[in-house]
Symmetry: C2
Subunit: 224 residues, 2 copies
DNA sequence: CATCGTTTTGACCACGAGGTCAAACTCGAA
DNA sequence: TTCGAGTTTGACCTCGTGGTCAAAACGATG
């Protein structure tokens, strides 16, 4: 998808439309409005709530513009997801670059991970939806997952073997599962047997403490 | 839908006078064929693949029968999910009833849990779909989750406090996350950086070893 | 055979999805 | 003022969805 190529179409205005392609300007306010509307909608209602109609209406814009600017709904959503993942990766990457003992660094990563989840409450749901339903954007998820896995592996290299049940990839999967599933299950948990609101401050703090405890247990066991 | 339903009620009421009930016999072979077809379809293609048309076609039966026997697609799927959960709960309940030390019992539960997952490969996907997309059957999931949580809590009662970050419910959530997420992420993992087929025998055995290691680490840490 | 309740069918409906398109509009440059 | 590229609109298309319904087929019972 070369967007750079599409930029310089303007020069050949009156010449001829030989390669007569469209030149929608995605920096146009309307195009951005659509993007923002899609993002908001994604956060609020999840992937299901996304439809060309809904997004256009939300943006106060004609539905046709979705296709004029973004080609298809899939492409639009891909942009939104990309934004999301980029933000996640960025915040994680920073935490990975921290200093200190392994334990300190791991805890830092967890905190940042949890912070992101708490701030972007729809994130967990969106990722899980894509993953578990084999949505059209699994490729994106895979790429993202792959990159983050790389960071984890590097960080844990000093204590985990390269293969086998204690390989870093297993811990990455397990840890992210422990983190992410709380947020996807929270709405269900809340209405009933969890007691308090799982998204309440105390509940989140308690869960955070649990996750920290969990990795401490792992690190302690790994040191043998 | 509400208006349509109302219309229908009126029509029926005036036409038949009394509480016009249907008397579809759900033990009818066709009704069962529909149920089986839905189950197969659910396992193969997940919740998305389920549609009245698809199910009927699969069962070699007219689409109208779906509504004649089951009232609505939602009700049909509910039956299927109920079956699924019942099977899961049954197998788990048996394992919970085992004897031996706490550690032995926990490992037994995990093995049974993993066995079930390996046998019913669509299970993880289905549950996660329902949970993460707030599907129409979350209620079912909640009930199921609640029951299984009860078992875990009882089992862990001797080592975990009743509240706080080390409460049994946290471990339940974390453990089931570690177990279930492998199966939802496996398809993604496979195509790329996991190396071998995540559903292959060795990979599954390796993951199983990892999960066992994980809970051993937890139990060890809890014993202080 | 005739009857009557149950079962089965296929045509049909409304709706919302993604997507297309020609016509209308906008607005800067010639 | 005219032109034309880029933009915007609304009508329209196809498809698949859940769901309805009248009529036909079936099956036991009188």
């Amino acid at each position: 998808m070369g967007e750079a190529a599409a930029k310089q179409e303007k020069a050949r205005g009156s010449a001829e439309g030989k390669a007569g392609e469209r030149t929608p300007d995605r920096s146009n306010p309307r195009a951005q409005a659509l993007l923002d509307a899609a993002e908001a909608l994604l956060a609020e209602t999840g992937y299901e709530g996304l439809s060309a109609r809904a997004v256009a209406e939300r943006a106060g814009v004609n539905k046709g513009l979705v296709f004029y600017y973004w080609g298809s709904t899939a492409e639009l959503f891909e942009q939104v997801l990309e934004r999301y993942y980029a933000a996640h990766k960025a915040s994680l990457a920073e935490s990975f670059a921290g200093e200190g003992s392994l334990r300190e660094r791991v805890h830092e990563v967890i905190d940042v991970y949890l912070d992101f989840m708490e701030t972007h409450r729809a994130y967990a749901r969106i990722v899980q939806q894509q993953v578990s339903s084999g949505g059209p954007h699994v490729g994106l998820v895979r790429r993202h997952l792959s990159e983050v896995l790389g960071m984890t592996t590097a960080m844990l290299a000093e204590v985990t073997p390269e293969s086998g049940p204690l390989a870093a990839r297993h811990f990455h999967l397990s840890l992210s599962a422990v983190v992410i599933n709380y947020f996807t299950y929270a709405p269900i948990l809340g209405e009933g047997f969890w007691g308090t609101d799982p998204f309440g401050e105390e509940a989140l703090a308690e869960r955070r403490a649990h996750v920290h405890w969990v990795v401490d247990a792992w690190l302690a066991a790994l040191e043998r």
